[in-house]
């Protein structure tokens, strides 16, 4: 399931619901990404999506993960709009029978979200506001799966 949300979400409650719903999965991997304040330089992020197009592209990444690993279920929650420093921006949960698949798919989907997912990101500080692009490290991480 994919959820693009304009408001904060409760990561733990979502992970519990996902776990409950994923029946007999023995392994649930999850990742929570939070907006880093960068020592006070960043007050918030503004995240823009292209409605429907962004969801479709994320679904394609989920399909690719399903082709590659034996997954029981996948959940991606991503914030859009204004997200304050310290707040969760993304949650990826993957469920599988054994843990190797869940870990790999969660890692893979995060790399996708950080480089190819259709989001535009503005870092907003006290006196600054600039559109930012992925770090070099994000591209390197993503290249591991090719």
């Amino acid at each position: 399931m994919i959820n693009l949300l304009k408001t904060n979400f409760n990561a733990g409650a979502r992970i519990n619901a996902f776990t409950k719903q994923s029946g007999n999965a023995g392994a649930i991997a999850s990742f929570v990404g939070r907006v880093r304040g960068e020592n006070g330089d960043v007050d918030s992020l503004y995240l823009e999506s292209y409605p429907r197009v962004t969801e479709t592209s994320i679904q394609e990444a989920i399909n690719a993960a399903n082709d590659r690993w034996a997954l029981i279920d996948v959940l991606i929650i991503h914030r859009i709009g204004t997200i304050k420093a310290g707040a969760p921006i993304v949650l990826v949960c993957t469920a599988s029978e054994h843990r190797r698949s869940a870990f790999a798919a969660c890692d893979f989907l995060m790399d996708y979200l950080k480089t190819e997912a259709i989001f535009w990101k503005k870092q907003i500080g006290e006196n600054t506001a600039e559109w930012v692009e992925p770090r070099q490290q994000d591209y390197q991480d993503q290249a591991r799966w090719k």
Binding site: T115, A117, W120, K121, E133
Partner: protein, 81 residues
């Protein structure tokens, strides 16, 4: 026709979307980009090679006719989630 400007393009154009009736002589994507460039004084921002275009939410490579086009998106490089 609905036109979306994403990310830094929205700052450049000064709006995130607009709905326009195109002049009849604007029949292709490249012609539209050039017309919008003049209209909004964009200094070639839409024509940068890093800008991707989607017609009716489908990615277009190179030029393309605008027949049947109801929505265009101009996408600068994505920023990651």
């Amino acid at each position: 026709m609905k036109i979306f400007y994403f990310g830094r393009l929205s700052d450049r154009v000064g709006m995130r979307q607009e709905t326009l009736a195109l002049p009849t002589n604007i029949e292709t994507l490249f012609a539209l980009k050039s017309w919008l460039n003049d209209k909004h004084d964009l200094g070639g921002a839409l024509e940068e090679t890093s800008i991707k275009s989607m017609i009716n939410q489908n990615l277009v490579h190179g030029d393309a006719p605008l027949t049947g086009c109801i929505e265009i998106g101009f996408l600068p490089p994505v920023g990651g989630g």
